[in-house]
Symmetry: C2
Subunit: 503 residues, 2 copies
């Protein structure tokens, strides 16, 4: 059994996975509504076929010839470093996948399916008690899941590791406890200053908005030969293959920015997939290393670049030209200030880049407490409101704008939220390194040339796939382990200038 034979064997599961992704893309973009029941059956069938492949004896035997599945020792040490790393990752996945019994996976899927329905109704009716019994079941199943998967320090570790390999709850707790107070302080300082007086609200033709998003994506390096942009209720990036990237965006007729920033965000994810080593399709080397690192790519593009002055120095004149009626009298500086308005909000998805992570930290603390059993599900509304009030200085008037706002818990996705903040932290740390390497990057961006950024990220991050665990990759690229400091430095530099807040 050679590495190439193992890779070939694993291409079946990768093909199945990519078909599942296409099913999801179609569901979110073009599928007629009445097809929903059949689509659920499609997706369940594909998931079960993929699971069968991933846990098959045939695969275990093939993998076991190259790496000792029990000890993790590489058997064929003549393999290249990336290939040895791929074996380690295959083994990591396999050990996890065989742990969860099919009956548990089915029960989890059934519970979350009915829970998602209950959540929707509870949110509509602003009635937490409709969701409470479901959330109880979900939390209990997630705790059980953590027990089945096993952990060294904290049960929440097992859940986080689904999304962020090797990340520990203790690391998150330490990072977030150093991040939250200065963030809250910055928000408070900004609140005392008068914000931008300009609003971007106006009238923006939908098809022109879509054209503009495509224009920006082209500058980022996209080509219709290997990518698409469609509309969906929630913007997303679905990778079918490094040469088949499906981004979606959402258009508001009165505001051009959600569409543009969503497209840039999803473009950041898509570039990551695009520059993964295609010849490794089927192996962990052709997969993003973690949700945190993946989010760092989308946020690098969306916030650090896509909300920057150099970027809009190039793109604003064209935007202004396309939407001259609404933007004609707004200067670049006014536009830039309006685009970067900081204002505490109750809804996470509406949050700016200063307040955003406070929403995440609140969720993280509640999830962690629920999983370790230090609070009860019944306490959630009160605890939620307490955290939001403490971090952001505002209080949700209702659970709909509070603990019922996100779908994630109803889907059983505990451990997922922290990766959003990890993404922001990784992005800022990468950005510091990037600016040190390319100190004159702004000139290129002001000229509309984004290739330097694209190349640097593909060279430093994308091409490695899962060769290095996320934190190792961060150290390798930036020379330092993950820290909240670059992100705080980035925010303070940008927003103290924008809001004239003293150091």
């Amino acid at each position: 059994m050679s590495y190439q034979q193992l890779l070939k064997l694993c291409q079946t599961r990768a093909l199945l996975d990519s078909i599942s992704n296409l099913l999801e893309w179609d569901l979110e973009t073009h599928m007629p509504a009445q097809a929903i029941e059949q689509r659920a059956a499609h997706m369940e069938l594909m998931a079960s076929l993929t699971h069968k492949e991933k846990t098959s004896k045939k695969f275990a035997r093939a993998l076991g010839k190259l790496i000792d599945i029990e000890t993790g020792q590489i058997k064929d040490t003549s393999l290249s470093a990336p290939h040895q790393a791929a074996l380690v990752e295959w083994r990591r996945d396999y050990l996890r996948d065989i742990k969860l019994p099919a009956a548990f996976v089915r029960k989890f899927a059934q519970t979350t399916s009915s829970s998602a329905h209950a959540w929707k109704k509870a949110k509509e009716r602003n009635n937490f008690s409709l969701f409470l019994p479901h959330l109880k079941k979900i939390v209990s199943l997630c705790r059980k899941k953590a027990d089945i998967l096993g952990y060294q320090e904290h049960p929440y570790d097992a859940l986080v590791n689904f999304f962020e390999p090797e990340m520990k709850t203790s690391t998150l707790t330490a990072l977030f406890s150093r991040l939250q107070p200065p963030l809250s302080a910055l928000v408070q300082a900004i609140q005392k200053k008068p914000g931008p007086q300009i609003s971007l609200k106006g009238s923006y033709d939908a098809s022109k908005q879509l054209d503009f998003a495509l224009h920006v994506l082209r500058a980022m390096g996209f080509d219709p030969e290997f990518s698409r942009l469609d509309l969906s209720a929630h913007p997303m990036c679905i990778t079918i293959h490094p040469k088949d990237l499906r981004m979606t965006t959402r258009i508001y007729p009165d505001d051009p920015m959600p569409n543009i920033l969503s497209a840039i965000h999803e473009g950041g994810h898509a570039l990551y997939s695009h520059f993964l080593p295609q010849e490794e399709f089927g192996s962990p080397l052709c997969e993003p290393v973690s949700l945190g690192i993946n989010e760092s790519q989308s946020r690098f593009w969306e916030t650090i670049i896509g909300r920057s002055l150099p970027f809009w120095t190039h793109f604003y004149p064209r935007l202004q030209e396309v939407f001259s009626q609404s933007l004609g009298s707004i200067s670049l500086e006014q536009f830039y200030a309006a685009l970067n308005t900081v204002k505490p909000t109750l809804i996470r998805t509406d949050a700016d880049e200063v307040t955003y992570n406070l929403h995440i930290i609140a969720r993280f603390e509640l999830e962690k407490a629920l999983i370790e059993g230090s609070i009860q599900v019944e306490e959630i509304p009160e605890r939620w409101n307490g955290k939001i009030s403490q971090f952001l200085g505002i209080s949700p008037p209702s659970n709909r704008e509070g603990c019922l706002q996100d779908i994630h818990w109803s889907l059983g996705a505990f451990g997922y939220f922290p990766t959003y903040t990890l993404g922001n932290l990784y992005a800022a740390q990468l950005f510091e390194k990037f600016t040190a390497t390319h100190p004159r990057w702004q000139e290129r961006v002001e000229a509309g040339d984004l290739s330097q950024i694209r190349q640097w990220l593909s060279q430093e991050i994308h091409r490695f796939g899962r060769q290095y665990p996320p934190e190792k990759l961060c150290e390798k690229v930036t020379g330092n382990s993950l820290s909240e400091k670059p992100f705080l430095r980035y925010l303070e530099r940008k927003y103290r200038a924008l809001y004239h807040v003293e150091q």
Copy 2:
């Protein structure tokens, strides 16, 4: 083992099939070009999974409990007539599917894949010799396929039966030999008369064209809740589920009719799928009975209704309004005459409804001769030109406009072409019965009400799925076995009037 358990078991293959259909729809409509290699791998994988399901011992055991697989005797005679018919069809498919060895199927797929490439090049360069060696291999494989599948009278029967169960080459030969001379005579008579003096060529906005096609589809009974219309290089109808119907069309900026007629044609197919009994999804009762009957549905709508005066009495004023610049000065009668221009053409897909079947009969005679070995592949160009000249009175100046025009042979689809003519014959025979049942149908259509047609076809054809073999279904509905006469009566009535040709 109950019927319901068998049905449930077979839903897996039906889901796999429908996923394959979605993969094909995506390939033809939205897929980025560079994804083509991976898409081929997707489709190959799904085909192999479907084949595995269809030929599994588990399925054979389940089926064998309800019907004797060797003799075809129903074991559970308490089952309803439709369910007993489903067992017969499941057995028919199974006996065919297990005959073809996997190695043969693979070789066939590989050969047709490289052959399709060679055909494309040969057509581009107008060089038959580039295609010749490939076509030789294809013909030899198709003869081998016929031998493997077995047949009673003629090897071509085995190939036709893939598309049209129980149809015999001798039946086709007899039908077509009675059809061709009067068709050629009608074409000749028409040629002597002056054709319509009006051309519909003009300038037709693409998005308005698409809107108009959707307008017609709505009148046919479609709703975006269970159907879509997209663009593709070749119009098609892809059924994912009776509630998920994907039609495509093609737009020419200088002519509105190819788009509208394509949409109506594909709509005819889609209505068939829509009215199949959904509760039987997974069984032959939820499948169209044959390509011929399926084509009868599309042609009934496209030609008999969609090229009729009552239809355009309702729709032409609106078409004229939308495209007033190009159609403003053309009367309904002039439009109707232009729409039904008869003129021999070299290209099948451009042919009108009088000449169309002559193209098919030529192909049928050549296919039959190749498969029985009475002519050699080398003779094809000369034989082709001879037939076209004999039937249509025109001669292809090049093979590109002759025997190289269709992709079908390169794909190994021998036995497929005759179903186009069967569709036309079935459609006309159904139409005679329909008009006898609803003699005032024209008034409803003139008022834009197409529901009577839709209901009659769904009641008489669609809801049965594969309960009756095609010819039995025809007899059941029309009281007669399949004949060329209703089609000839339909054509002569319509075109003698339009062209003032004497009887």
